[in-house]
């Protein structure tokens, strides 16, 4: 029953995946990407959790209690910055595409392109 936590993370992950794959609006795709990635980060942090554990900082120690695993937190910090970089770059591209095509809808852009050719 405790693993319901992971199950719900997978649901969030799949939702993000679905938004990213199926929504044709680019901004939506980008939000979906962020949702998907933060679900993965939550998965990483959740696997490092120890019941009633304390944060891996010496000053926050609770005598008698275990620390949670610090490594996933460190990985997630890296991952968050990576995902914000990808987001920024993708948004820049979206803004430029909007300027050229007047729409942010990928399907519409593809249609306009095939008409041009």
């Amino acid at each position: 029953m405790d693993n319901l936590f992971y199950a719900m993370i997978f649901i969030i992950f799949l939702t993000g995946f679905w938004i990213m794959l199926r929504q044709s609006n680019l901004i939506k795709k980008i939000i979906g990407m962020n949702i998907m990635e933060s679900a993965i980060f939550l998965f990483l942090v959740a696997m490092g959790y120890v019941k009633e554990g304390s944060a891996p900082i010496a000053t926050e120690a609770n005598p008698g209690l275990a620390y949670v695993n610090p490594l996933p937190s460190a990985l997630v910090l890296t991952g968050i910055v990576v995902s914000v970089s990808v987001t920024a770059f993708a948004l820049g591209l979206t803004v430029r595409l909007y300027k050229h095509y007047g729409t942010m809808d990928v399907d519409e852009i593809t249609r306009m392109r095939s008409e041009e050719l």
């Binding site: 693993n3 649901i11 891996p56 010496a58 610090p70 490594l71 460190a74 990808v86 820049g92 430029r96």
Partner: protein, 89 residues
């Protein structure tokens, strides 16, 4: 319509598979999980002595795994260079 149905079916199948996997994963919050092995214990026990700081996570990102952080700074720089290249072209 067919396409939507196909997508929903695919998503549900993948979802059910993932839920089955979730059932089998090491249980949540259990201190005997394979993740809590000698590596994480080593970090927790030796950080103050080997890195001289109290926050273990900070020691990991800047000392034990500092190379990842260099990669991360490079990602930020790449994002800026790419964004400016795209916006200014």
């Amino acid at each position: 319509m067919m396409r939507v149905a196909l997508e929903v079916v695919t998503l549900v199948v993948i979802g059910v598979l993932l839920l089955m996997v979730a059932q089998e994963m090491p249980s949540f919050g259990d201190p005997t999980n394979p993740v809590h092995n000698e590596v994480s214990r080593y970090y927790i026990e030796n950080t103050e002595e080997e890195a001289g700081v109290q926050n273990v996570v900070a020691a990991i990102i800047t000392d034990y795994r500092g190379f990842d952080t260099l990669g991360e700074l490079t990602v930020l720089l790449t994002a800026i260079a790419g964004l400016l290249a795209v916006l200014r072209s």
